[in-house]
Amino acid sequence: MSYIEFKNVCKEYKMGEITIKALANASFSIEKGELVVIVGPSGAGKTTALNILGGMDVATSGEVIVDGKRVTKLTNKELIRYRREDIGFVFQFYNLVQNLTAKENVELATQICKNALEPEEVIEKVGLKDRKNNFPSQLSGGEQQRIAIARAIAKNPKLLLCDEPTGALDYKTGKQILKLLQDMARKENMTVIIITHNTALAPMADKVIHFKNGKAEKIEINEKVIPIEQIEW
């Protein structure tokens, strides 16, 4: 059995009388330490899948197993704990707490975690040691996203989920962020899942999952991973 099993997951939203199927029998599996890129057009169900995987949403049917834990069977409270202990999340718009300094934003995560990493060390790791006492508004977008990543990995999660982490960033900065994520997966042996609509990023991943119409239409295993620096788009 794989580290992550995503089996026949369906997700339906009821919008008044219309039922929208965001996921329709999506299935995939991910191994520990893999860097996975999920690609697909808008509305294909990527984010929904990620949300369900991250314990932020509940599947209508199907089964999700992470490290032997049946996420789909967890209660609300267990879900929170799952998010707290096992998941690190990186958002498109960073979602830093504006009122907290870079370091404090990281601390916001570490203070609720049992085996959290030292915030200062993590910040150093993302290369923002000098800016740790700055407020988000004093940082550039890339810097903010780095802090966001630092906040996610400081929890020492099993899974690092990133929803369009470069969506709001320019090309160069985006690349730096992706590099950081790739390094994380490589060096820390962390399982990283990145959602992007940019198929050009596929070569950097160990596994590429193509989403279409709520299904994982194609799962490619990339034998030859190309470092992000070499990818151009």
Binding site: T47, N51, G54, M56, D57, K77, I80, R81, Y82, R83, R84, E85, I87, F89, F91, Q92, F93, N95, L96, V97, Q98, N99, L100, T101, E104, E107, L108, A109, Q111, I112, C113, F135, P136, S137, R151, K155, D163
Partner: protein, 1073 residues
Amino acid sequence: MKRALLKDSVKEIKNTYKKFLSILVMAFLGVGFFAGLRASSPDMVDTIDQYYKEQEVYDIQILSTLGLTEQDIEEISKIENVEKVYGTYEIDGKIEIDNTDIVAKVLTIEEINKPKLLQGKMPENEQECLVEESFLTQNNKKIGDTIQIEIENTTNDEGEEVEYLKNKELKIVGTARSPLYISKDRGTSTLGAGKVNYYIFIPKSNINATEIYTNIYIKVTDSNNYTTSTTKYEEYIETVKENIEQIKEQRENARKEQLVEKANEKLQEAENELNTQKQDAETQIRDAEQQLADGKKEIEDGEAEIEANEKKADTEFANAQKQIENAKKEIEENEQQLNQKEQGANTQFAQLETQKQELQANLEQINSGIAELQAQYNIILEKIQKGETLTQQEEQQKIYIETQLQELQKTQQQLIAGITQIEQGIEQGKQEIEKAKKQIEQGKAQLETQEQQLNKTKTNTYSQIEEAKKEIENAKREIEEGEQELEQNRQEFEQKIEDAEAELLDAKEKVNDIEQPEWYILDRNANSGYVSFIQDTQSVENISQVFPIVFFAVAALISLTSMTRMVEEQRMEIGTLKALGYNKFQIISKYILYASLASVIGGILGMCVGFATLPAIIWDMYSVMYEMKDKINLNFNWQYGGLGLILICICIIGSTIYSAIKELKSMPATLMRPKAPKKGNRVLLEKIPFIWKKLNFSQKVTIRNIFRYKKRVLMTIIGISGCTALILTGFGLKDSIKAILPNQFENVFNYSLQINLKDELEEQEKQEFITKLSENENIEELIETYMTSAVAVKNENEEDVQIVIPKDDFKDLINLKDIKTKQEVTLKENEICLTDKAAQLLGVKSGETIIIRDTDNNEYEVKISNIVENYVSHYIYMSKEMYEQLLQKQYKTNVILTKDVELTEEKEDEFVTHLMEQKEISSVSRISSTMKVLDDTLKSLDYIVVILIGAAGILAFVVLYNLTNVNISERTRELATIKVLGFYDNEVYNYIGRESILLTIIGIALGLILGYFLNFYIIGTCEINMLRFSKIVHPISYLYAILITVAFTIIVNISTYFVLKKIDMIESLKSVE
């Protein structure tokens, strides 16, 4: 507005219905409270107005010190605008139930001031009556029972005692309410414990003493066109009152003349009778004198007769005595003669005796001679016999002897004859003497008898005379007694006449003294229940002017935050519209429409609900104290509703326009970019490391956040502090009100009873009574005072005050304390002390002067030495010296204030009843019952406290809920993020909740300070003129305010918890709006 925009606006409302609702609720509350509270007072007035119209309550009432008559009614009827005049009878009576005396005001059922029948039926005859509902419940009586009522006889104009009622035994046939007694207070009475307990209604036909009316009630023409207590009504009634004032003096004089005339008639009659009596008495005395004189004459005659008789008797008896004396002398002489004769005889007898003895001796010799001879003879004879022959000798001897014998015998015989003769002679002599003696004896005896007889007669006669004399003496004594009696009678009669004359004189004086009757022309404002109700409506009015302000302010603040938030949320859309070329007004109109709809709908709903509920709630609260209608008249008061609506629209729409315009100033491009989230900033506290470092992470976050959303934080604090302040005001108000009674009746007035003495009491009687009273075991201390009412005037302001003048000093029964220094004050010789509230109302300070107008309208200017503490009514305290100097009058005690030893209520009841029986006392008022009455009155203000707390609660809830919602909506992203980070629900709550806890603490602290001042402001606003609320807030009230605020915040925070729980992580993370 373009159609698309209109559509957009409607959709906007649909989408943000919560926000719309919250603004709507604010408008609802603001207008509801404003309109509802504002309408309460007019509705209350309307209700009493309707009630008064239904029960045909008088407009003007006339009372007179000497009663009112049919002529008075006639005269008043002639006055312009007087529609109808009713003469009625009202008197206090006693009903005994279970050995306790109940004092009842007996009212006649009239066409005016109609009783409102609650149960049973109206009385049909003079044996029936109506009672109050409470009379039945409190005395265990029911309809159908009979009660016995005792009413003192009245004196009619002729001065005769008349039974007041025809029938004293009354059957209860129903219960009713009198419009004249809408409060619980039934007034005072001179009977029993000095208080009227109930009123009862009897038909007029039961009144026996119908000659004098006690009250005249007047219905003024068209007065029903006005609402009672309004200025228009008061002014209209005032004009009629003035007209009545004009005949007042004439009617008073007429009444006096009538009484004087009747009294004079009476006097004349009495005088005539006196004169007749005088004459009668004089005749009687004269007769008696004549009789006495006759008697005396008779006695004199009798005496003369007796004297004559006595004299005659004396002479007669003297003669008789003389005769007897003569007779006695004769007898004596005879006796003497006889004695002489006897002596002579006795001598003879002695001679004779001697002769006899000689004879006898001869005889004996003879006899012996004889015997010898015999013996010899015998011897001879013997011899003869023996036959012997006798010797011659013997014969001779014999013859001799015989001769001898013969001779001897002869001599013997002679001798015997002589002796016999002598003896006979003696005998004869003796007999003669004896006879003579006897004769004398007889004479003597005869004389004696005669004398005795004479004496007897004499005694008889004299005793008769003596008796006659005695009789005369008796008669004399009788006459004397008669004279004395006569004298006495005369004196008595004279005394009587004198008395009668004095009485007559007195009566004459009294006729002169017949006091000038005084009319009191009163309007409804003389009815204490009515006045206190109207005053209550005014305090409701006062409150209604303050509170809605708070709500409006809060509504404005809330809509400002909500709308600002809304405009901020829609800056993109605004930018787009602006970019599309819509002008400012078109863009703003959406928000104006939004706000207007919310405020108009909310406002209209609010006024409907407000009009329907608040007056009713307030009525329910007040109806505990008033017996009137069960339901308030609810009116849709457009005036207040409209005003409230306009005000709330100004607040809400104004703040909407303000926030929209502020946003619109930016360029479209700026608007279309998301508004930069509020920047994080270091707070000042971070620069103080020793505090900052001690805080843990979440505390730091909390503090940062607080300083980040300054506006909202400020508003939260204002909301919470407002809530705390209102609650504190509520409790503080209660504290202040509650403190009035102990302040006034324990601290200022420390006496238990106020005993009013009768006016006509002589100084000596008074002093004796006071001395007696001071020795009473129930009284610990007493002081003498003179009290009189007056008007204190300063410039335009006038206040009724009571002047109190102590005879010596107040001891500790009245404590005068300076309002500022709180020091004891002593009365100065030429300055007065004025009580605090009066000083405030008049606008004077210590050292200034005021004018006192006494009951005779004399005015005196006086200087105030001190303003003194006081909480109920207004007083002026003046020293005796000052009073005497100022008014040029002699001080005289008319009120005694006493302090009981500790008495139970029953004991005090007994004591008061005992006091009321004293003839020197006119009335007794008890501090304890005064306190009870006031306590009831003050309870009304209790309800205001409840309203305050309720209002505060709603305010707190709305403000907190709204602000929390804005807070959450503004920070959804942040909250969603921390949720994603894996914060538990309670951790998420704490993230926000810590802020509200801190803000609550700050808000409460500020609120306590704010409340402290608001309390004083409100106290100033709703303070009744006669009262001074004390400025106290008990510590426990602070605690209540804190606890209740905390409770409200907890409720809001619980709802916050659930709102937070519902935040959808996914939706909020997707993108920036």
